[in-house]
Amino acid sequence: MSGGTHLENANPVIFQRTRDRLQTATDEDEEIHDPIDDREIFDMIRSINDPEHPLSLEELNVVEQVRVKINDAESIVGIEFTPTIPHCSMATLIGLSIKVKLLRSLPDRFKIDVHITPGTHASEEAVNKQLADKERVAAALENSSLLEVVNQCLSARSI
């Protein structure tokens, strides 16, 4: 995917990375139950690599903390992601990478809904439907070549 000669979006706008989360005294206190919050979810997905550029999804503004919604009590996570261009053919792969990252990071009880930010992609509905179909996601993840590409997106990059 990366390193190809024809980049779909040759000159993407690059955004600044968010600073690390500040640890507070209550975070350290094991006695206090602190539910998983939006920032923690954002931290799980912001360093996912873009399939096309040597940049993170955060740096391309594909993911933003304001588009992450978690309800820990209800075990529901909702993510909206914004493709860099409305005809981005990588949209499904990016959404799949976000989904896989959260499936691997969060406890099994969570329902994870990954959608395209409304109005930002030409095939928004089709991509959303595919990402919501767990049977197709399960089948995709049994495809070793696709899984390898997803794992590349998820592998930590030294900055």
Binding site: D108, R109, K129, D133, K134, E135, R136, A138, A139, E142
Partner: protein, 332 residues
């Protein structure tokens, strides 16, 4: 009258993987389950509890999505993401792989036997539905490939006593097929769901069909073909929509042939049972929620199946890998 759904037994059916589907043998004495671990397990009763009697491995290279018993109970068919369908023959207490049906381009999503046992249907992500004929020598031959759907076909089910086949798809539609001069054709397309249709179940008489969908509703369709008095297309109409009961995708629906109770499997972890109001108009039936287990499983419920012989015995299975045997009781 008070109804309740009580847990009889929880089985850790497919540890560390999904349990996708469960199917009762025609006598109701065995339950087959399949899952993401590529295995099929056969469960039977020993004393008061259900135990794993045998495990069928090495039949498939990928997830086993669904399993189906032949009407005689001597054969089991398994549909897999590896694009094949396996036919297993029962030998005493064990099963042996008899043949492998190939031809679909990719994942086989469902398999179902016709009531006669002479026909088998499979469907796939390749958008097609295949009908296979079985002869006395256990030879399988594909007699038809039907391409009526425009997307991934999720489920196929046969009418309880006619050679009428129904399929449900990612294209939001349901198709009904009948044979005409050695050729199987789509004779009706039921439109109404606004997203993927995941499951289908006929009632005991085959006059009605229940469908469940990603749009979080269950629809009841009724056969009006005869009233038109012509030999042409089939006419089925939606007579009831159950909405507002399910929090997420409804993955399966099962209509009990013994009691008429309707069970659903939902992505919100719940198992629900609906009963029809017997005084309601048959052309506008009313179904009400009779019992539910809102946190039946710890993850999505993928399948519900009523025992064909024992009244009120229901099996469910989930992404959490567990199978639960329930008892649905009308009165306590």
């Amino acid at each position: 009258m008070k109804e309740a759904l009580t847990l009889v037994q929880r089985l850790n059916g497919h540890p560390d993987s999904r349990c996708w589907f469960v199917s009762w043998s025609p006598t109701g004495t065995l339950l087959a389950s399949c899952g993401g671990d590529k295995a099929i397990r056969i469960w039977g009763r020993e004393g008061d509890s259900w135990v794993c009697k045998s495990m069928l491995q090495d039949g498939h290279q990928r997830t086993v999505r669904k399993v189906a018993w032949s009407p005689c109970g001597n054969y089991l068919a398994s549909a897999s993401f590896d694009a094949t369908t396996c036919i297993w023959k029962k030998k005493n207490d064990d099963f042996e792989s008899l043949t492998v049906l190939e031809g679909h381009e990719n994942e086989v999503k469902c398999v179902a036997w016709a009531p006669s046992g002479n026909l088998l249907a499979t469907c796939s992500r390749d958008k097609s539905v295949w009908v296979w004929e079985v002869d006395e020598e256990d030879e399988y031959e594909c007699v038809t490939v039907i391409n009526s759907h425009t997307q991934d076909v999720k489920h196929v089910v046969w009418h309880p006593n006619q050679e009428l086949l129904a399929s449900a798809s990612y294209d939001n539609n349901i198709c009904l097929y009948k044979e005409d001069d050695d050729d199987w054709e789509c004779r009706a397309t039921l439109q109404g769901h606004t997203s993927t249709v995941w499951g289908l179940s006929f009632d005991a008489a085959g006059q009605r069909l229940a469908s469940c969908s990603d749009d979080r509703t269950v629809k009841i369709w009724k056969d009006y073909s005869n009233e038109r008095g012509e030999a042409g297309d089939l006419s089925w109409k939606c007579v009831c929509t159950l909405s507002g009961f399910h929090g997420r995708t409804v993955y399966d629906v099962a209509w009990c042939r013994l009691t008429g109770a309707l069970a659903t499997a939902c992505g919100d972890d719940g198992v629900r049972v609906f009963k029809e109001d017997e005084t309601s108009d048959p052309d506008q039936p009313v179904f009400s929620l009779s019992a539910q287990a809102t946190k039946a499983h710890t993850q999505d419920v993928n399948c519900v199946a009523w025992n064909p012989k024992e009244v009120g015995v229901l099996a469910s299975c989930s992404d959490d890998g567990d199978i639960i045997i329930w008892r649905f009781q009308e009165e306590i």
